[in-house]
Point group: C2
Chain length 358, copies 2
């Protein structure tokens, strides 16, 4: 790799190459649990301004790296930038999460949905990626990302967060072709978006399928995994992106890890409801596993955190295809000192699992 | 059975005896989706008054049976009656779900927690059971129920609903013995409560472990399943309850169905994220399976509903140990006519799976 970062543990683990210890990063590592993030947040009138101002997005991306010895940076952005660029009008209402001013109401709205050009309509993301890469100066790799086609669709059709997914599931069961049209558009948009992020400097990619786990096994394969697979194939067939490792993560997708690994992705995210030992049996070391400490463990004492880190590392066992992470995003109320305790435990306890060739 | 109901399909399926068609009932079948329920609800000043007035609880329990050809009735009550009887002060705030005035703050509060006498402090539940049994007049069986020890504990410690379970998980990882004390008390209280429900006339029992699925596999076994198993054992060892079948249901527990079946329960509830075919392989026909249509399917057209019912029945396949149900409670916005379509499909399509001895 021409621009290999000095710390290449994360990229090596993604490729299944030997590492001295388990690489570690944290989902939502740049976020509200950090006081410095909350300070920067005040400079932006709203959350989307923070995401769409490259200097601010770069600043918050770098904050956790200045504090903690992490092995990867991840672009600070939102999973809903694509539907926003499609004209749905993303906004964040206090305490209610993301919402769209113009949710998709019918088949006609889906038919008319434009596929955004990432280089112009999502330029702010590419500018942030370039700026972050420059600031990182090849110390550690930068991860780019997108929401999965299905996960984006849930927000686009429901108009925001939902507990029951009743509107999109009505579409799924009653007008499946209509939903497929939407998922195809999302898939095309995501492929272009991830290609553009890679061109701008992202060194690994991750698809967040936050809501694939609310589907039946059949619906998951048809309406979520199928489209993630198309994305993996498109990226692996393109000479500009084929060497960029891609991680797929379906929250509550523990029962389908073997199917996820079958897509040809390089790594699979695992939440804490599946043990890494079982996960490893399911994927048969074809892919790297990323996870899976319960984020709530970080509310316990540093001693308890160390015990749970030890359990997680032992659960994966000997081998080089493990990237330590939480099983979901870090919670806003987390004490940063407890994050430091977690990282210290990974640093101290993981080298023993790299000494064997097993 | 001395008081066997005329329609004994549900009880026969629980025992693995041949049935002419798949029995069916619906979790939360007495509830807000029924206009007659909403009318009765107005007669009570709050939700707990509805639950604790035997005449009203009986009335709403019977409402779905007057409308639909269901194979079982389930006591109308709340899963949090036990902690309420322990003095935690259950109330329902509009749109926020159940809350406790006095959540458990520390080990001392847990130590002082009394175990309620169901015959006096939960007398209103037993009175409702007796009244419902009298009104049912042995037409169909009545199911009694409780929340699981862990599920009750989440509300008791968090003080209400939660997305992250951060308070109780902090206790779990940092003061596990303290949590075990609470779970032991809940277990004792639940055993007495279910024994009293059986004595009052409940003909089957169900434990709702709504939140077991938010735990790691190890924590699930230690802090949820372990205590459900104690309840099953206690009920099976007691001559008054040993013939009363018991159903365990852990939402998002699809990966642990074999462990749940190992408790000695008679049936296991399955949500829609696990296929019944896989579920059946996991439990090896040791237990009856109950489920698992996605409640959101009921928002689709009657034709789509019929297709999904057909898929669910085919997924279980030939055999007598299936009880049709939703994979979780019916949603308040559901159209009752769509429920009728679902039941009609079960009635029409399930007899074919009972003709073989396979």
């Amino acid at each position: 790799m021409p621009d290999a970062p000095k710390n290449d543990r994360f990229l090596r683990a993604l490729q299944g190459l030997p590492v001295d210890r388990t690489p570690v990063w944290i989902m939502r590592q740049a976020g509200r649990y950090l006081p410095e993030y909350r300070e920067t947040r005040k400079q932006a009138s709203d959350f989307m301004t923070l995401c769409s101002t490259p200097e601010l997005a770069c600043e918050v991306t770098l904050q956790p790296l200045q504090r903690f010895p992490l092995d990867a940076a991840i672009l600070f952005s939102d999973i809903l930038t694509i539907p926003d660029a499609m004209g749905l009008g993303l906004y964040f209402s206090e305490g209610e999460g993301p919402k769209f001013k113009h949710p998709l109401q019918d088949e006609n709205a889906i038919k008319q949905l434009p596929i955004p050009d990432p280089e112009s309509e999502l330029r702010y993301v590419m500018d942030a990626v370039k700026l972050i890469r420059r600031e990182l100066d090849n110390t550690i790799p930068l991860i780019g990302f997108s929401g999965s086609p299905w996960t984006l669709a849930t927000y686009m059709v429901e108009g925001g967060s939902t507990k029951t997914f009743s509107v999109i599931k009505k579409m799924l069961y009653q007008q499946p072709e209509c939903l497929h049209q939407l998922l195809e558009k999302n898939t095309t948009a995501i492929i272009r978006y991830l290609q553009a992020q890679t061109a701008a400097g992202a060194q690994a990619l991750m698809l967040f399928d936050t809501w694939g786990g609310v589907l039946t096994p059949t619906a998951y394969q048809t309406f979520s995994l199928n489209y993630m697979q198309q994305i993996v194939h498109a990226l692996k067939e393109n000479t500009d992106t084929r060497d960029t490792p891609i991680v797929l993560f379906t929250k509550n997708g523990g029962q389908w890890l073997n199917l996820i690994a079958d897509t040809g992705c390089d790594a699979v995210g695992v939440d804490w409801t599946t043990s890494l030992r079982i996960a490893r049996l399911r994927v048969q070391d074809r892919v790297t596993l990323q996870g899976n400490l319960d984020p709530s463990v970080l509310h316990a004492s540093p001693e308890a955190i160390q015990t749970e880190v030890a359990n997680t590392l032992a659960d994966y066992g000997y081998g080089h295809r493990h990237i330590f992470n939480l099983g979901h995003g870090i919670q806003p109320q987390t004490n940063p000192e407890h994050v430091a305790a977690m990282l210290e435990a990974v640093h101290q306890l993981s080298p023993q699992y790299k000494k064997s060739n097993a």
